[in-house]
């Protein structure tokens, strides 16, 4: 299981992560953040493969990804 943290306060809603996510599990929120952008958020975290495409393409460095250790132990 992967945990994806998108810092909504820094996100400018450019949509690059949405476009490049191969799982199609990121979308822009209807809500506005403090800066007036529609920030990205993850809609189906359990489908995340940890491929980091979103991270690679994010110009505002808003995305962190963690792997849950219990899961990691099972996989190894």
């Amino acid at each position: 299981m992967f945990k994806v943290i998108i810092d909504a306060s820094r996100c400018k809603g450019c949509g690059l992560c949405v476009h490049f996510c191969p799982q199609d599990i990121i979308e822009l929120s209807d809500e506005l953040n403090e800066a007036g952008y529609h920030p990205a958020h993850i809609i189906s975290e359990e489908e995340c493969t940890g491929c980091k495409m979103c991270v690679l393409m994010c110009p505002d460095v808003c995305i962190d990804i963690y792997k849950e250790i219990a899961e990691a132990a099972v996989n190894d």
């Binding site: 949509g15 980091k52 690679l56 393409m57 110009p59 505002d60 460095v61």
Partner: protein
């Protein structure tokens, strides 16, 4: 939670990706979808991975990236328009073991600062240049740059760049490739994950060339300016790939790190 203080791991998680130490927590002021942010992140990751944060100095220049000294979490000097390579020379000549990079746009490097970058390369100055080429002056609101494409509309080429009025676009890497003092020279872009990974490899090699004291290194990053191209970020990516890459083909021009291995 501030970005830089997000832990790499907790009791029950391990980090797959976290915010680089070599970036400060200051949110970058670039426009949505601008590739400056990706470039900053790549450079910061490289600094982290090479373990050189404590001996690096960034030279911020003039252009949209004028605040680079706020974003990179290293010592910093803000330089006059185009003069980054001269300032870097001054630092490197007094402190050869300090790692120095300039971060320059196409106005700064290819227009007003062409002499400084060419002569730094000719002297084989041992520092690294990150050159952002987005074919337009961003900070001053979208005027023609030396790298503007033929026919490209800007706020000072409202009918498109013509030979008569604006001359030819300038290919910096091709010019620098003729100079023996260059140790690493590559042109990359950031419009897709595969390109981003390539770009990072080149940036790392450029810094590696500097650490090995091989001479001058420069990575040109063909970049977007969604705002002054008047496009959405993804449209800008497509225009870059369709229009810019034929004028500015992606290539590793010089790589003396290979010989070094």
């Amino acid at each position: 939670m501030s970005r830089a203080t997000v832990p790499d791991s907790t009791d029950d998680t391990t980090a797959v990706y976290t915010y680089p130490d070599s970036l400060t927590e200051v949110p970058m002021r670039y426009c949505p979808g601008c590739t400056h942010g990706i470039a900053h992140r790549l450079v910061a990751e490289v600094i982290d991975e090479l373990g050189i944060q404590e001996r690096t100095v960034v030279i911020a220049t003039v252009g949209c990236s004028v605040y680079a000294y706020e974003y990179f979490n290293t010592d910093a000097v803000q330089a006059a328009h185009g003069r980054g390579p001269a300032v870097a020379t001054g630092i490197k000549r007094t402190q050869p073991d300090t790692l120095v990079f300039t971060y320059q746009g196409d106005g700064d490097l290819a227009s007003i600062g062409l002499a400084e970058v060419m002569h730094a390369a000719a002297r084989a100055e041992n520092f690294t240049v990150i050159f952002i080429n987005n074919a337009v002056f961003g900070m001053t609101q979208g005027q023609m740059a030396p790298t503007t494409l033929m026919g490209q509309k800007t706020t000072t080429t409202p009918r498109g760049r013509t030979l008569q009025q604006g001359g030819h676009p300038l290919n910096i890497c091709e010019l620098l490739a003729t100079i023996p003092g260059v140790a690493y020279l590559a042109r990359e872009t950031m419009t897709a994950p595969k390109y981003v990974l390539r770009a990072k490899r080149s940036i790392k090699k450029a810094f590696q060339a500097q650490m090995d004291e091989l001479g001058f290194s420069l990575v040109e990053l063909v970049s977007t300016c969604p705002t002054w191209w008047r496009m959405k970020p993804l449209e800008a990516f497509k225009w870059l790939e369709d229009e810019m890459l034929s004028q500015y083909p992606l290539q590793v021009f010089v790589d003396k790190t290979e010989q070094n291995d």
